[in-house]
Amino acid sequence: MAETILMNDNDVLLSIRDLSVTFHTDEGLVRAVNGVSYDVCAGKTLAVVGESGCGKSVTALSVLRLIPDPPGKIAGGEILFRGTDLVTADEKYMQSIRGNEIAMIFQEPMTSLNPVYTVGDQIVEAIEQHQDKKGPAAWSHAVEMLKQVGIADPEQRVMEYPHQMSGGMRQRVIIAMSLSCDPSLIIADEPTTALDVTIQAQILELLRDLQKKNNMSVVLITHDLGVVAENADDVVVMYASRIVETGDVAGIFDDPLHPYTQGLLRSLPRVGSVQERLEVIGGTVPDPLAFPDGCKFHPRCPIGSDEPRCMTVEPELREVKPGRCSACWYTPGYETKEEFELYETKYGKHKEISG
């Protein structure tokens, strides 16, 4: 398996190494995450992009060991947080990490708050759990947190129930809750997908401000490439439970290496462009119970759909240029000399790729 993925010299806060997660279902074994490795650097935002079912959320949930077990199971690899492996850590240690060192923001602001308690109760509970503050001190801290996330009239709002608030307001409350213990890492799983664009802009701006202020790291899980472009420092692209490409945000958008990333970027409708038809990645996302052999993207790939090697041998993630990794045989610089020669003797000449 590929060793280092992102060539940042900054302090690595969280490092996922060769993580595999499986789910036992009635229909068979599902490999939801398959040998995924990435690093999150202190104070930076790492975006994990991919379509539904690609394993981006499962990877994040396994960092906090929140995978429902059974049916889910971390089958291998390690998750190093400040040097401690969270895969093997005991439950007590995990409790002290969850919500304290690493906080999580979920997609659905309607269901991630408990409807029978006031928002104040819920924030205070998190504070009392992890900090020394109790009673009135915790309450005033909660009010302070609500003020920080831009909720007007926080003394009043702290007494309200979730159903009295709008979606954007609830997401702010959740952010307040996750920030209340001053975490060093926030995992945001599609934090704005359920929100309107104008509210999404508010929430993302808030997250950016708070990140700068508190020097936090953020793992931003999303399917929206626009959100990635505007918020991320580094990007990990996942497809069918594996990473297909990593790099810095400018690199990924200016010079996508993997055919999947290229197709994804081309298929976006853009405001102000005059294109007649959208370019399309054909086919459908593969069924996790029946992944294709070889490269999992090959049936939809413009290069690999009839390439004997792509159909049989799965390419691993390799660094192809400084700070950029790709998992495609046809990324320039991917093949070693031996592989190049082996291929030519086995299958004949390489395919010409235009563009």
């Binding site: 505007e230 399309v280 990645i281």
Partner: protein, 335 residues
Amino acid sequence: MKRNMESTKKYLVDVKGLKTYFPIKRGLFSRVVGHVKAVDGVSFKIQAGKTLGLVGESGCGKTTVGRTILRLINATDGKVTFDGSDVFGLPSKEMRKLRCDMQLIFQDPYSSLNPRMTVANIVGESLTAHKMATGRQRRKKVAELLERVGLSPHHSSRYPHEFSGGQRQRIGIARALALDPKFIVCDEAVSALDVSIQSQIINLLQDLQDEMSLTYLFIAHDLAVVEHISDYVAVMYLGKIVEYTSSRELYKNPLHPYTRALMSAIPMPDPHRRQQRIVLGGEVPSPSNPPSGCPFHPRCPMAEQRCSVEMQELKQQGDGVEHIVACWKCKEWNT
């Protein structure tokens, strides 16, 4: 569609002063204590063979507009003329006939298909009900429809749960096409799909429009998608249209402050253009208690005294292309 078609200027759909209010009931005897003004005086026309995009945030009434036009929800006031006939005035028997001509494609590919029916029944049921095809004829027609939307006729004996989201959306489209409609309301038809599938479905909708000369009302919250597929765009806020123009003009020259804010809020897939955006404060007010005057004034960066008292009517701006805006201040903004 941004294609040069001969514009015969024939309007297929003509909506005038449409209002849909939902009563708010309270107490033991369900006394009506107020109304949610979901749609509050909306007028537009759609040319045959063209696409009108309807954009707005959740709760602005865009979905209600679509369903009211199809008479799935009863209108409170207003008139909809479809192909010369008054939709709200038709007796139910003729309405059933008219339903063949106007169809609906839904947002959620999971809840929009009956889980107990096979694909062949979902797509072909209306053919039987309207006595258009039975037996072998129906099978043939269903196979044709499935092929047309990019599915295999082998799929016809399966159930919806055996398909992916994109495939389900294709089944929903095939169902809508079964009766050879003239007009289709696409209600957030691509919003719930994965990025790579979304573009497939958008292309499919465009191809179908060309082949069958369909007219679309394309309802969505994603301005980029709407701009791509529509000829004209109407921007809605709190039950009212605030701006209406051709989609290219809207992008080049948005005039209403809400449209501008909406546009600048869209995250662009370009890391070098982290723009200085207009972030709107506050949230969309409740349509049961809309603000006085212009409904946007509490969030508007340009609002002045007059805006909270009275709303400007939709007015043509400039003398070039059709571009109507409901704002007192849009001219000043422009300069």
